[in-house]
């Protein structure tokens, strides 16, 4: 049984990788994947804290987050595909329509 600190540390690493990926990577698909990483880090935390507290609320939230993440990916991927069709690229540097 891994200690709480270990889990939190791994969760921290996962989240950091996710944040770094979202901030650094230019490929929209990779960014989406990194978002998944961050969500997973959060899930890991939720499950760890639930186990620690002896309740199932955390697990329930983790399941909810997974469902939401699946939905989010479906929508996110659809957006990316639509974007690709429109602009012929998924490099976020080239997608700057909102620039003032």
């Amino acid at each position: 049984m891994a200690s709480m600190n270990t889990v939190l540390f791994i969760s921290f690493l996962l989240f950091s990788v996710g944040v770094a990926g979202v901030l650094i990577r230019r490929n929209a698909l990779v960014i989406l994947m990194c978002v998944e990483l961050m969500l997973n880090a959060a899930n890991l935390n939720l499950i760890a804290f639930a186990r620690h507290a002896g309740t199932v609320a955390g697990q329930a939230f983790a399941l909810l987050v997974m469902g939401l993440a699946a939905a989010e990916v479906a929508i996110g991927l659809a957006l990316v595909v639509a974007l690709y069709r429109k602009r012929d690229t998924i490099q976020v540097d080239n997608i700057n329509l909102l620039k003032g």
Binding site: V19, V22, L23, I24, I31, V92, N96, L98, K99, G100
Partner: protein, 753 residues
């Protein structure tokens, strides 16, 4: 109305009355508008001559018609349209309904004038077809014929107009046409200057005419001749007339009106103060000289005075002015004619002088005699002018008589015609000039003698003496002209046995003769065009030139019999006087007073025609003809060089006018111009500049301060928003990074807390 029958018959005939003046104007319009494009001058001829001849026929028709009427009913009028209506005008405290109509009337006087204008005018048109041969080739011909037709129209409007407005229209019209015709060679300065001179001089006269005309309108409240004449007795019955706050007797006002109108007549008919334009007008083509300066325009002053006889009969002072100015003009102009070498200038001064005679007749109250001289003069002077035109053309546009001579053999028709005309103008029995001129002199004399004593009007006596001297001079210079031109040997083209010729440009040196001198070389390029074969010597001119001259000479020969003086009634009666009588105001005018015995008239006529004129002619012959070397005149000139030079230079009147009036006027004009240019324009420009400066300042303030403030606000906003804009990269990653930093900061802050 009592005049019912006349009123019924009038419309039928009056339907063509308006055609008399309008036919020539149609001709002028046609030629003026299409003449430039017409290839063929024949059509121009046809229209120009045809319209005038048709007018002549219509006048003749009306003349015959008038002859068939009772003497007091001899008038046909036609109102073409009403020009303007004043409604109820306030005149002399009473209401008068005044209309001004475009109306024509033909009565004994205007019928005669109409015959003269169209008849002589037609002959001059015919002459022009030959004389203007150069212009035919150059395409200027249609313009000449247009002007001639327009001139005839104006003159007909003047003589046929039924009121003063119509007369004034024609009056101005002939002034304009004389300007156009005299300045026909407008590309040559002397002609342009002469045209301008005629125009301006006439304007001075018109000023007087207009004042007289306004006064007449104020006195009578009408411009219509018939109405005015009908009101004369009523006006004379008033004690005094008040105009402009001045109260004077009617006679005083009539004197004023008469003098003002006479000033206008002076301009048109070239009387003493305003005669200077006529000699210069010889710059125009010779047919123009004949038309304007012998037959038509210059007679308009006479016509006007005859028409206004109801004023003059009642204006003794004005009559005296007319008489004296006429006599003075006759004398002075005749003396100027003595010393001219230019054939046309001699005739020009002769015209001025003869017009003086006519005014003498008018001034003596013998309106019929004056008008009669108008007619006879028109015949013989037109013949002389046209004859001189033929001579000039035959001599290759030479106008100096010293370079002519001997033309009698070359040009028999012209010589005979001009000879008859010369005898007529000199007043030899039975040529027409005898009847008219001697009647004038007799009437003037009678005006003095008729008072029964020798204390009659002294002025008449003086005028008569001046007239006799002028008549003597007339006979002299006319014979001089004939002798120099037609007798002796031909002196032109290198034949010069006595060394008498002068180079054509000889009198270029003298400033006053400069104008006509140019006339010689003006046509110089046309020399070879005449088909004279170089310098083979003069030849008779074609028929369309000598025929009108001959016809006019014939009229000059027989015209006198139209009006035989009372004392010569065994020859015939005075048709002309009787004919005009209904138009004359029947007062106890001077011409009505028959106080003198016919015996005196016989004596005077005998003296004038058998002694006086022949003596002058003989003197001239002895001077110039008997001795072809002209030693006598040359000796005379050598003896009195100053006198001759003085007369030859026309007493320096032009120079006097130049110094006394024109110069100061020019100076005044220059000063006014300077004032205008410096002061008025300066003020205007200064105001403009000030406005400009002020507006520049406002513009600067507006652009820099007001706009600056507005733009500053916009600039600040744009700068600020530019800063913010930079934040909006449009990249989600940037936003996420910022968000991340925020989280990091909050976390750090929480952690440290």
């Amino acid at each position: 109305m009592i005049m019912e029958p006349a009123a019924v018959s009038t419309p039928l005939h009056s339907s063509v009355l308006w055609l008399i003046p309008f036919l020539p104007v149609f001709g002028a319009l046609f030629n003026g508008l299409t003449g430039r494009r017409l290839k063929n001058n024949k059509l121009v001829d046809l229209v120009a001559l045809g319209s005038v001849f048709a007018s002549f026929l219509i006048v003749a028709f009306y003349f015959v018609k008038l002859m068939g009427m009772a003497p007091e009913n001899r008038v046909v009028t036609q109102t073409v349209w009403t020009w303007l209506s004043f409604g109820d005008a306030q005149v002399l405290g009473g209401l008068t309904r005044t209309t001004m109509t475009w109306a024509y009337r033909i009565d004994p006087l205007s019928a005669c004038m109409g015959l003269l204008v169209t008849g002589v005018g037609f002959l001059i048109h015919l002459f022009s077809t030959g004389y203007m041969a150069d212009e035919r080739k150059r395409g200027e011909y249609y313009r000449f014929m247009t002007y001639l037709n327009l001139f005839v129209f104006s003159m007909l409007n003047l003589v046929l107009g039924a009121n003063m407005i119509m007369m004034f229209l024609g009056w101005e019209g002939v002034g304009l046409c004389s300007y156009l015709l005299i300045g026909f060679y407008f590309d040559r300065e002397y002609a342009a200057v002469a045209g301008k001179k005629a125009f301006v001089t006439n304007r001075i006269g018109d000023f007087g005419f207009l004042i007289g005309f306004y006064l007449l309108f104020m006195i009578f409240g009408s411009v219509d001749f018939d109405t005015q004449m009908g009101l004369v007795r009523g006006v004379l019955a008033q004690k005094e007339l008040t105009l402009f706050g001045l109260s004077h007797s009617p006679t005083w006002w009539f004197n004023l009106v008469g003098c003002c109108l006479f000033l206008g007549a002076c301009g048109k008919s070239a009387q003493i103060p305003l005669y200077v334009w006529l000699p210069d007008a010889m710059a125009g083509p010779t047919p123009v000289s004949a038309l304007i300066h012998a037959a038509t325009m210059v007679t308009s002053g006479l016509y006007m005075i005859a028409r206004m006889n109801f004023i003059y009969v009642n204006a003794p002072v004005a009559l005296a002015v007319v008489l004296f100015v006429g006599a003075l003009t006759a004398l002075v102009a005749a003396s100027m004619g003595l010393a001219q070498y230019d054939i046309k200038k001699v005739l020009a001064y002769s015209t001025v002088s003869q017009l003086g005679f006519m005014f003498m007749g008018m001034g003596a109250g013998a309106f019929t005699a004056g008008m009669f001289h108008v007619f006879t003069h028109a015949f013989f002077k037109a013949a002389l002018f046209l004859g001189s035109g033929s001579v000039i053309l035959a001599c290759h546009h030479e106008q100096d008589m010293r370079n002519m001579g001997g033309l009698r053999k070359f040009m028999p028709w012209t010589f005979a015609s001009m000879g008859i005309a010369t005898l007529a103008i000199a007043g030899i029995f039975p040529f027409s000039g005898f009847f008219s001129k001697d009647e004038i002199l007799w009437k003037v004399f009678e005006g003095w003698y008729a008072h029964g004593t020798f204390a009659g009007p002294r002025l008449n006596m003086i005028a008569w003496a001046m007239g006799m001297i002028a008549a003597f001079m007339t006979a002299f210079y006319m014979v001089r002209l004939m002798v120099m031109t037609f007798f002796g040997e031909y002196r032109g083209a290198g034949h010069d046995p006595h060394g008498l010729t002068v180079p054509s440009e000889a009198h270029h040196a003298s400033p006053d003769d400069g104008h006509d001198a140019h006339g010689h070389d003006a046509h110089a390029h046309g020399h070879d065009d005449h088909g004279h074969g170089g310098h083979a010597g003069p030849q008779e001119v074609p028929w369309n030139m000598w025929f009108p001259v001959a016809l006019l000479a014939l009229l000059a020969l027989v015209g006198g019999f139209l009006n035989i003086p009372h004392s010569l009634h065994w020859i015939g009666s005075s048709h002309f006087s009787e004919w005009l009588k209904p138009l004359l105001f029947q007062a106890h005018g001077a011409h009505e007073a028959h106080g003198a015995a016919p015996a005196i008239e016989y004596v005077l006529m005998f003296v004038a025609t058998v002694v006086w004129a022949p003596a002058a002619m003989g003197l001239a012959w002895w001077f110039y003809g008997a001795d072809p070397t002209w030693s006598k005149p040359r000796a005379f000139v050598k003896r009195f060089p100053e006198l001759f030079e003085w007369v030859h230079a026309k007493y320096y009147v032009d120079e006097f006018y130049e110094a006394a009036f024109i110069g100061p006027c020019k100076q005044l004009g220059a000063q006014l111009w300077a004032f205008d240019a410096w002061a008025v324009d300066g003020m205007v420009n200064g105001a403009a500049r000030l406005t400009l400066t002020v507006s520049h300042a406002f513009h600067w303030f507006d652009a820099k301060i007001v706009d600056g403030l507005v733009n500053l606000v916009a600039w600040i906003l744009s700068q600020v928003s530019g800063g913010f804009r930079k934040l909006q990269t449009g990249r989600v990653q940037n936003y996420a990074f910022v968000m991340f930093l925020g989280f990091l900061a909050i976390a750090l802050w929480k952690f440290l807390a």
